[in-house]
Symmetry: C2
Subunit: 393 residues, 2 copies
């Protein structure tokens, strides 16, 4: 069976609900409408590829959360969430992708029925799965509610991982380690990129150490040469070429928990510029890992990273990392903390990040990255992939 | 190189822009802000997994469209769009997932600079990638614009496919045919679901007939038994069991064009209820294919389908199909026409649909579906997968 309940203990779900309600109180929110599939899963265990239609979890001032979604997906909720079936609300299929009416009209009726349409209601204003039209429909149907922006409210409760979550992330990291090993095993000049990607995906889904692989929130990025001057191109059937670097930005996934990791591969011989860039990244990574310990801030880590990079004559405009954990497409980040100078979040044991040093050069790109865990005393790399530029002779 | 320009001819892109401007005129829209990655790709050729940050194409009253996105993704635009580099606008990385400021503030500045902040501006209100916060930021920065809902405006221009698009969809259909053949080849009692899914993904990415496979907008659904009472569960490592049906809802993809197709597999022996349900689906599919011809409506097809299903004692609440084509996660549908009774859209040659007869039974689910093309005289199945329930002895 998919995701036998509970994926986590009842106590862990209860503590998640409690943390979230504490944050709601602090924000003056009585009722929270959660649209982010990652937050829905974290609060309730719900797991299904149904986020392409409007759905939500509604957390009121007391009682268990309500799952709300398309009627046919209620069956998936029955099979994956920890709450009783009476907490699961399905809307009629005629609301699906129908310009004449919006599913949020149905949700609004529930808010009225529950007596919550006049309360302070939080919505995730800047989430992929909470559209402008969804918000307008709620405003129209519940004009007396006090609508509040709750973007990131649940995401922030997820920042410090439980022991079981860390176990899942270690399993994911073992999977990404196996995926990178597979790349080195099969890559050779002339191999078509899509054939290599097929092997990467296969390795990811097979899993590692007896743990099956789940789907990543982002498909493999595998650009070579000039295509690698762009960070987010995927693949085609062009052949690998000796001496032309390719970076692989991929993630191992265990039960929706992600361990993203990138490596850059060059066949036969490595251009000097890439060897130097790899040295710069290694130095900056070491500096970041040394700085990353409880009590320091995200900004401290970014400054240590950037200073070491500058010493090697490189400069990076973009953030050098972000929080990771449970995720659904289109992003494996938690969208809370970023490793950038302006982020003053204080690191705590149990936080997990993708330390993401990518450099875009004139003739290509290089990414050598690490999923890391903040421990009681410092930072630990979760994956076992060898560091540095990967050169296969 | 990823997606050598042009993926389509200049003439085809020009005709897409012209069709879109005609629709804008009819809707009283001077400037269109396009957030849907499928619409962005269709108008400009842009192809990259960057839709997890805010990005758009801006189509003004005249001239080439503007691509607007994160500065680092401008490099990907340079490599994939047909417009000149001067049409590509990048915003600073400090806007990325930063609660203190919103990327739409940057887009608003461009609207002001272009003299478009006082015009009638269309936005895709009910798209995944146009959040409530994005809309609010635009309203705040351009309060004098006349904001119009343009949800689906571009999607509708995509309904009738060009010859080249149909060629791409045929290639995608050949890929999904190969994927289903691979399932039958490797499935056996005791095989873990994730191992089977790894083979499905591998087959899809390898492609078929010399054409490489692109990533699907939805990962494989592969639920068995009671899990298959729910339509959108993905996979785990549970073993295939003789006599317990599993449905596989998957798509072959060629250059972002999708041919989705489902089959239901049972090993060793098929339960009678599933054989009967497969007969009902076959009859309903035949009725729908007969009804699906130019001049008939989507509703006519749904009524023909439902009448045949009813004759076999089955009933389906949900729509029995939807438009397909170019797509990005999280949905491979075009989100325009649905094969449901209330849809009065008239069929035209070149339209493509996923005819999607899924039945949810008490102890499982059955899906046997077809990607179809409306021809000059009727409807044609694009894939070659054998029809009916798949029984492997």
């Amino acid at each position: 069976m998919v995701n036998p309940k509970p994926a986590f203990t009842d106590a862990e779900y209860a503590s998640r609900i409690e943390k979230t309600r504490t944050a709601m109180d602090a924000a003056g929110i009585d009722v929270l409408i959660v649209s982010d599939p990652s937050n829905i899963a974290w609060l309730t265990g719900y797991d299904g590829w149904s986020f392409y239609v409007h759905q939500a979890v509604i957390l009121g001032p007391s009682g268990d959360p309500l799952w709300w979604g398309r009627a046919m997906d209620r069956a998936g909720a029955i099979r994956t969430v920890w709450m009783g079936d009476e907490q699961l609300l399905g809307y009629d299929d005629s609301y699906v992708q129908n310009p004449a009416k919006h599913p949020m009209e149905d949700l609004s009726r529930h808010l009225h029925d529950l007596g919550w349409a006049y309360r302070s209601v939080g919505v995730e204003m800047d989430n992929y799965y909470f559209s402008a039209a969804a918000y307008n429909a709620l405003l129209m149907q519940c004009p007396k509610a006090n609508w509040r922006d709750a973007t990131g409210l649940v995401n922030w409760q997820r920042a410090v991982k439980s022991d079981r979550e860390i176990t899942y992330m270690r399993r994911a990291a073992a999977i990404v380690t196996a995926m990178h090993a597979r790349i080195v095993e099969v890559a050779e000049p002339g191999l078509a990129k899509n054939v290599l990607v097929a092997e990467i995906q296969r390795s990811g889904t097979l899993g590692a150490d007896g743990h099956w692989g789940d789907y990543p929130a982002v498909v493999p990025m595998a650009p070579s040469g000039m295509d690698a001057t762009a960070p987010h191109l995927t693949w085609d059937d062009s052949p690998l070429v000796a001496g032309v670097p390719t970076f692989f930005e991929i993630a191992g996934v265990y039960r929706r928990y992600h361990a993203p990791q990138s490596r850059t591969l060059v066949l036969a011989h490595a251009p000097d510029a890439y060897l130097h860039a790899a040295d710069a990244i290694q130095a900056a990574t070491n500096a970041a890992l040394t700085a990353a310990r409880p009590g320091q801030t995200c900004g401290d880590v970014a400054r240590a990273f950037n200073a070491a990079l500058a010493k090697h004559g490189h400069h990076k405009d973009s953030r050098c990392g972000y929080a990771i954990g449970l995720s659904y497409p289109p992003d494996w980040g938690e969208r809370t903390m970023s490793l950038r100078g302006s982020d003053t979040t204080v690191l705590q044991p149990g936080m997990t990040f993708h330390l993401m040093p990518g450099l875009w050069l004139d003739d290509g790109g290089i990414e050598i990255t690490e999923p890391i865990l903040i421990t009681d005393t410092g930072a630990a790399c979760l994956a076992q992939t060898p560091s540095g530029l990967t050169v296969k002779h």
